[in-house]
Amino acid sequence: MGNFVRPFLDNEFLQRAFLAGVLVSLTCAVVGTYVVLRGMAFIGDALAHGVLPGVAGALMIGMPAMAGAAVGAAVMVGGVGLITSRSKLSNDTAIGLLFIGLLALGVVMVSSADSLTGDLEAILFGQFLGVNTSDLVAQLIALCLVVVVAVVASRPFLLLCFDADLVSAMGYRAAWYHRLMLLLIAATVVVSFQTVGALLVFGMLLAPAGVGALISKRIGTMMLWSAVVGVVSTYVGLLASYHFSWAAGASVVLTAVSIFFVVFTAVSMRRSIVGDRS
């Protein structure tokens, strides 16, 4: 018992990391479910890495990293919208172009700056164990915003996920709600990457929500399962990082993805025994 709780009681940095992980898990449970249901994983990944030049630029001129990340995310989302609306190129081509373009710009900026490399590494790959109170506050605000938007726009979002054609038929503006959804993903990435690193944000957007989608067909239940998996992964991952000296952020993501594959195996085995009734 002591080995499972004591590390957290003894170490404040682990308590804060756990709290941050829980907040990120809850935010990602809501947003990630939409990402998984609507097949928006690529834009999520692109956002998590495309913010690099924004962050680099912000650090160079002494602005907060989050402001730079927001600019990077805006360019990404705006650019994808522009390309897909003004050309016949597909969504994933547009995302890919902006993704690699922004990433390349970021790497060039970092390589031309004299003293940035260390900082940037930390930002991209997590300062999960260095979470401070202001990070937690920002994360809490993001969570509240995401939940409020998801509740207010729950009906059009639900329609977007399951029957996009019906959205306009019901009198909602589909494009507008699609953009709102993108904005939610962007906000989640921009706030969370500073707390826990880009790797962890993207992992937490996909893996727990993937589990939710495997075991439930109702959007609310999916989010609930997703939140549970996220929180459990945070706890187990941090514990593994403690006992085996593994990198913290990566341990959490690894746990979440492992849970996904365990559930996936269980669900497929059950299907092959019981037969697919859906």
């Binding site: 590390p7 940095f13 990433l103 403690y242 990198a247």
Partner: protein, 318 residues
Amino acid sequence: MGIMSHAKFRNLVSRSIVGVFAAAAVVACGGGESSTSPDRPSVVVTYSILGAVVGEVVGDTADVVVLMPNGIDPHEWEPSAKDIELLNNADLIVSNGLDLEGNVMEAIEAAEEDGVAVFHATDHIEVIEFGASGLHDDEEVGYEGEDEHGDGDPHFWTSPVEMAAVVEALGIALADIGIDTGDRAAMMKESLLNTDQDIRDLVESIPAESRILVTGHESLGYFAHEYEFEVVGAVIPSLSSEAEASAGDLATLKETIADEGVSVIFTEMGTSPDVVEALADEAQVSVVELSTHFLPEDGTYKTFILQLASMISVALQP
């Protein structure tokens, strides 16, 4: 490990970008020109601290070019196309070795194959193995961490004695390629050994039980070995600053700090400041930032090493 392959992917991306720009630069300029004058031989050094020493030995007998901007983390720096051109046109390349300049070694090896003379400083020192620093080698810190380095500690420049050995060998290497530096190498060596004595005087007043160091990554091994300090732990127990912190390492370090009565964490560029701050807050110790990779304003190694020693000495005075 996921995180490493990720970093490697980004390296790959940046390398291909460098490649594209290299091609563009060649097209634009019709073959670049190096900034050094053609009549004097050119010595290219990878980073600033070693560059300062090489510059003093070489004097005006050759042009000394330092590749990395002063203060940059050599573990992470990547060469540009122009840097590679400089390497290929050099008469002598002076590198640290032991994987410190992980991203430049390939280019240096390529230049070496083309016949450029290469001097690896760490070939001429007594290499400390990772984890063997300090007076007695406790096993309590988990030293099997994720390092991309080999096991030899590359940070030899924190000891002027090792630097003196390098200077002596460098004088011979320069003579081998026809650069006669007279007695400058010998004088530099003597001056370094005097500096060594100064540091011994400086740290003399630190009582034995206070001679314990907690650092950012493992960068003070040679200093500790030379002046009888013990490195009891590091925020990132790896020779490279690129590894990520783990909860286990941090918790162990926190315990070590309490057990050993550590009062200061010496941090440095490349270590996540947030993680260090969180740890220092919790363990109620202060943080002193050392410039282990940064050459001071007057550009001399002597000032660098004396500043480093005096910051450690002041922080650890009872």
